[in-house]
Every structure is written in structure tokens, then in C-alpha cells.
Symmetry: C2
Subunit: 215 residues, 2 copies
DNA sequence: GTCTATAATCCGATAGAC
DNA sequence: GTCTATCGGATTATAGAC
């Protein structure tokens, strides 16, 4: 039989994934499992403790999606698979996507939980690895790989976030293609002739800061 | 003296802007104003009614920021000012930014409130106007202006959203420059030589292959 | 328009029996 | 590890006096 703690956490994830964070309470969680609320305190110290574990589980799931992209045989393939994995995670686990990107205050935390700092760094590192190897393979222009990876991340998150928030009038079944064609414009660039240069580092505003640590 | 409804709404905005949405309640709101909770029901039907009004006010403020960009003398200037206005709004009114982009469920709504649909369309239209006139002026490549505007919006939102969520290790005073240099990569494009074309519509949809579903 | 009083419900967390 | 019972608090919302 599964450990009680595992079952509690799994049920909590299910509830939040189904109904969001707002109606979540330990009493409800206990009722869903079939026990009473005080029993939960044998496995978790508080409601916040449960939520932190849920956030950690969300990041773990997200990481699992991304990681499959490494099965691709070429840098280009791995990059494309990473994009598909990002979209797949957002569409198949929208609540997790929401929980992960939620402002800490909305979960009742005072600051970014440590469960989020590591995975956030890992996500950036993963994307940066994809970007760097694509640069070496000539699929991407030579550039600051950290800055480019951040841009790819931000653009992906922006598109998905607007979509999940209902602000993009795109049907669900068309969204993966929509995402892909939108990201394509990041590859080709949207600027006119004056912005078409092979070496972005010669641009006046192309200065990026290089800090690595999240405070 | 100001109308009661105006003062209630203003105080509600102040509270949410100061402390976020999570601790907001009608009792607290009433106490802040100096009345009792039932008095509020003479001016608003419910808590949701108050929150809808706050969301509407947030969109109104956002629109005011964006609108100032129209003072620029050229398409290129107006586009740049729009970007600066977007960043200024996000940094000066982060709670409004949060409220505006919050999932409806987190505000206690079941669906996207009508107060959000109109302004969301307006934002996209505003950006599309900037994009289109920049295309006509040759600052932007000829392309689908709706798609490009969406990309600009998504990229802007993505960068700001990651920053406000604490996921980007960028000091506050460096963020506007960081934003600008990141958006610059959207202009130049990040793709290698094969993606450097004048007419994006001639591109094969080649970066991604077929999508597979994760369970 | 504002008040008091109150209904009805929910919450997190703890004490102590078993 | 789970229970019952309970503390102490919160919330939205309504009824009716003034």
C-alpha cells in the first residue's frame, strides 16, 4: 500500500489541479482522502507545508516533461522537443503550470519558497544548454546564450500565460501550432532591414547583465 | 467630499495594491474606511462586485500608461514609448499588473469577467496599431501584423511576468534596460542564417516536428 | 446610509483518548 | 495514526432599527 504521506500529497495535487488553489483547505483535503483533518498533522506540519510539497511536485512534473526533450538526436531536434514539451505541460497540466508560476504571496508564502529557486535555475540552465548547442550547430546565431535562453523562456511563458488566462482567442486544438508559429518569429526576427545583422553584439542596445544567482 | 462608492473603490485598490489579493476581505475594507461591513452592501452587491471594479480600474490605469505612448512623433518612437510604458506600469503598479493578469479563478470568478475582455482586446488592438505603422514605415518587416503584435505582447508579458515572479535575477534598477535588450533580440531574431529572410511567410514550419502527447 | 446583531459557514490548529 | 471535541478565529451576507 502507498505511504499515507504520498497519498495525501497526491490527493492534494489532484484537488488543486482540478479546482485551483482558492478553495483548497486541509479539511477538504482530509474529507477527500477519507480521514479527518487532525490526522494530516501527523504527516505535515501545516497547510503551508502541504502547499510547498505540492509546488515541489509541480516542478518535478515540469522537469520530467522537459527532460524527455533530451531524447532528440540533434541539437535542433532537442530544441524543438523542448518547445513541444513546454506546450504539452501547459496544456495537460494547466493547474501545475499555474501553481508553479503563481506569485508566492498568493500561496500564502512570504517569499519565493526554496522549492522554487532550484527548479527555476534548472529550467534556465536547461534552456541555456539547448540554446548553446544550437548556436554551436549553427541553428542559432552566435550570441549571449544566457540572454537568448531567457528570451526563449520569456516568450514561451508569455504566450502560454496569455493563452491560459483566456486572453488569446485561440482554440485549444490550434494552440500548439499557434505557439510554434509565434516562436518562429523569434527565430526570424520581426525587425526591418536595419535590424538584420549576423552579429547581434554589434547592436547598441544589446547589452546584457550577467548575474547568475537568485537572491 | 468624494462619493462613498469612489472612496470604497479607491481604498480597495490601495489595500490590494499594498498587500495583494490574498488577505482582502470586505470586513477589512470596511475597517480601513471606518465603517462596518454591511454598509458596503449599499454600494456593491458582493465581494465579487468590488473585485470586478478593482480589475476594471486596473485596466483603466494600464490603458492610461499605454496611451501616453501616442505622444511620440514617429511610429518608431511610439513603439518604443509603448514598450517603456509597459515596463513603467509593471514596475510602478505591480499589484495592478498582477490583478490584471491573474487567473479569474484566483479572484473567485468562474470565468473571465467582462471587465477584462474589452481591455484585453484594446491592448492587442493598440499594439497591432503600433506594429502596423512600424511595418509601413519600414521599421518592422512586412508580416501578419496581428501575429507580430501578439508576439510582442507575449514577449513583453513573459519578461515582466518572470521578473515580477522573482524568477529573473535582475536588479530593479537594471530591469528597464534588461527588458529593452531582450526585446531587441525579437527584432534581430535569434535564428541562424537559414532563418534570415526578408519574407517570413516563405518559411517552412520547420523548427518543430510533430507533437506527441504525454500522459 | 449606517448601524447592531446575527445567521450560517468555514478555517487552521491543538488536546487528549484510544 | 486516527479519532472526537473544541478553541478561537475568520468570512460573506442578511434583517431590521434608526
Amino acid at each position: 500500500m502507498t505511504e499515507p504521506r504520498t497519498r495525501i500529497l497526491g490527493t492534494a495535487c489532484d484537488m488543486i489541479l482540478a479546482d485551483g488553489i482558492e478553495g483548497f483547505s486541509l479539511r477538504r483535503l482530509a474529507r477527500c482522502i477519507g480521514v479527518t483533518a487532525p490526522a494530516l498533522y501527523k504527516h505535515f506540519d501545516s497547510k503551508e507545508d502541504v502547499l510547498r510539497a505540492v509546488v515541489a511536485e509541480g516542478y518535478r512534473t515540469f522537469g520530467a516533461y522537459l527532460y524527455r526533450a533530451l531524447e532528440g538526436p540533434t541539437p535542433r531536434e532537442r530544441f524543438a522537443l523542448a518547445g513541444q514539451a513546454y506546450v504539452a505541460f501547459a496544456m495537460e497540466q494547466p493547474r501545475y503550470y499555474e501553481v508553479i508560476h503563481l506569485s508566492p504571496a498568493l500561496l500564502g508564502f512570504m517569499e519565493l519558497p526554496e522549492e522554487a529557486v532550484g527548479p527555476a535555475c534548472a529550467t534556465r540552465q536547461f534552456l541555456e544548454d539547448r540554446v548553446r548547442e544550437c548556436m554551436e550547430a549553427g541553428v542559432l546565431k552566435p550570441d549571449d546564450s544566457t540572454a537568448v535562453a531567457t528570451m526563449v523562456w520569456a516568450a514561451s511563458h508569455g504566450i502560454v500565460s496569455l493563452y491560459l488566462g483566456g486572453l488569446l482567442p485561440v482554440p485549444r486544438d490550434e494552440f500548439p501550432a499557434y505557439f510554434r508559429s509565434t516562436i518562429m518569429r523569434l527565430f526570424t526576427g520581426i525587425g526591418g532591414p536595419e535590424f538584420t545583422v549576423a552579429d547581434p553584439s554589434s547592436l547598441p542596445a544589446a547589452v546584457t547583465s550577467q548575474r547568475q544567482t537568485v537572491t
